[in-house]
Amino acid sequence: MKSSTDKTSLSAMSLWRRYPALKGYALASPAILLMIVALVSPFLLLAGTSFKIETGSSDEWMLSLANYEFFFEKSHYVNTLVRSIFISTLVALVTVLLAYPAAYFIAFHVHENKMLWLIMITLPFWTSYLLRVFSWKLILGYNGFINSGLMWLDLIKQPLDFILYNTNAVILTLAHAWAAFAILPIYVSLQKIDKSLIEAAHDLGENKIYSFLRVTLPLSMPGVVAALLLVFIPTVGDYVTPKLVGGPKGLMIGNLIQSAFGRLDNWPLGAAISIISMITVTFAVCLFLLGINRVRKVLI
């Protein structure tokens, strides 16, 4: 009797039965493995590099916080980081503001071929990111589409030079580039809303605007939060767009990291800036989520 139960409890099947979590780990193991190889170890390498410093001879290294000190001593670096956070925040807000009506339209007013509309939204992503940024250059440039159009209409005499090579151009280009990442999560959260809830709000005396503010918007908040994060986090580190359309005033932290690894050939410094930027983003996101929670508690 006893020996037979011992035997069965040893088999993998019954182990899984008894500890369902094991099965979960087994299923997740390929992903965990990939994470360790492709994410955790490079991160540790990066963190390690950031504490290194070159001493005179090229193959001698020592551990120090000098790279971090260097970063915080240079106001140019710190300012760029602050500006990156600021630009990405604006990009996230602008993108979500632009994406919400589009998602709303597809969720509530398109009844046939929703899939077609969603595919059309991802259409710009079928070309390379670089090409898309370049086309914005063509649109916003000194002899670009907007300027020549306005001149052709005789609305301006001289091409406007404030529309390219500044922060606005970066925000516009990034907002366009990331639009689909905002539309999709918002669309999903709107699509999930039971239409009878909106009817119930009308039934209880609220017109369209108030029904939206009191029912639709709060219920789509998970999608909005996801969209804000999905746009904010990756755009902080972007360096292609600021380089191509940002001009000197539109530089972002990604550009500093790139030049540290590239032109300056100072990998430890680049690693330190990366780590600082990562920590700042994490901190900003936590702050944002805490704030959202607070707002939710107050409103509800």
Binding site: D194, S196, L197, E199, A200, A201, H202, D203, L204, G205, E206, N207, Y210, S211, R214, V215, P218, L219, I300
Partner: protein
């Protein structure tokens, strides 16, 4: 008919493309009535209710509520509130906020609001549930919150779309009673949609039976059950034995009707007029049929013999199925289980004689 019509629906139709969901319906509903819309699935009950609420605009016809033309009034300005089929409780709000949702425009001071909400909470017997989130409520509690949320608006008319459909049988029966009592207390006109004929019979003052977008008959539960005018209503409400027939003759206060299954039978004339030879239907309620014993003293106006084939035992009563010669449709006879009569009667493939009185024979126009 109600003395004064409070809701008046005149010639209302609703088309969805080529589908006719509601087909020229005329209804008058009185103030304070508990009015049921009864019909099988897809007959247009919800669509009619949604037109009263303002979510659908009639393709044709007019709706008046308390003397006011409703066609162009949006849902949020109508003096009606609705309890949705799935309750539509706001998942992001707690019970208190759900119930208070419709009071925003009243701009009540906090203590007044608190009082109004706790009043309805005690009306629905859910004191102390204010802080609960909707996903922490049972089906019956959710149903009550939906009810409270609508009632706190003090509507002139409360619309209920199968509000008890999602509840299990015991809870449903309890809620039927509570809902009826609540309606008496608040005195609001209830328009209640259901496809459950028993529920409609138990709860309503009057019932409109719908089929395929049309209202076939309107009347009190007793009227519709005891004197249905159409074959559909006779069949739909309760169990009914219905047979095709035609009028053979009129004989004083009775019609003589020929049927294939029951032969020639006579029926007391109520209100309808039939012409000689007219095709129609004859109906007999199972409870109006009796097993005739040799020693039985009552004199029957009609009778027929058959073989008992099956019994459905319900505890307090039983239904006996009697096979008639030349018919594949058994005659259903209901007997009360007095001192075990039902279980005693239910034995074997006995031959039995079934009798009825002629006043219980219903004559139905073929629609």
């Amino acid at each position: 008919m109600p003395e004064s019509s409070f809701i008046s629906i005149q010639g209302v139709s609703k088309h969805f493309g080529s589908i006719v969901a509601v087909d020229s319906v005329d209804l008058e509903i009185g103030k304070g009535e508990f009015f049921a819309l009864l019909g099988p699935s897809g007959c247009g009950k919800t669509t009619l209710l949604r037109m009263l609420a303002g979510f659908e605009i009639p393709s044709q016809g007019e709706i008046n509520i308390d003397g006011e033309q409703m066609s162009t009034v949006p849902p949020y300005q109508r003096p009606v509130n609705m309890v949705f089929q799935n309750y539509a409780i706001f998942p992001h709000l707690n019970v208190f906020q759900n119930i208070a949702f419709g009071l925003r425009k009243d701009r009540l001071p906090a203590d007044e609001l608190e009082k109004r909400v706790s009043d309805v909470l005690s009306l629905i017997k859910m004191e102390g549930f204010g802080e609960r989130k909707p996903d922490e409520l049972s089906g019956g509690q959710r149903q009550r919150v939906a009810l409270a949320r609508a009632l706190i608006k003090k509507p002139k008319v409360l619309l209920l779309d199968e509000p008890l459909g999602a509840l299990d049988k015991n809870l449903r029966e309890q809620m039927q009673l509570e809902l009826r009592q609540l309606q008496k207390i608040v005195g609001v006109t209830f328009v209640f949609v259901t496809h459950d004929q028993e529920e409609a019979l138990t709860m309503s003052d009057r019932i409109a039976v719908m089929s395929a977008g049309k209202v076939l008959e309107v009347g009190s539960p007793e009227d519709l059950y005891e004197h249905p005018q159409t074959r559909f209503v006779a069949d739909f409400l309760g169990t009914m034995n219905v047979f095709d027939g035609h009028i053979h003759a009129r004989d004083g206060d009775s019609y003589i009707v020929d049927t294939r299954e029951l032969g020639r039978i006579s029926a007391r004339i109520e209100s309808q007029d039939f012409s000689k030879g007219e095709k129609m239907s004859v109906a007999l309620r199972p409870e109006n049929l009796q097993i005739v014993n040799s020693q039985s003293m009552t004199v029957m106006d009609g009778s027929i013999s058959g073989v008992m084939s099956n019994t459905a035992y319900f505890g307090n009563s039983a239904q006996i199925y009697v096979e008639l010669e030349g018919s594949d449709q058994p005659l259903v006879v209901s007997i009360q289980n007095l001192e075990g009569a039902a279980s005693k009667a239910a034995h074997g493939n006995r031959e039995v004689t079934i009798g009825w009185s002629k006043s219980s024979v219903l004559l139905l126009k073929d629609a």
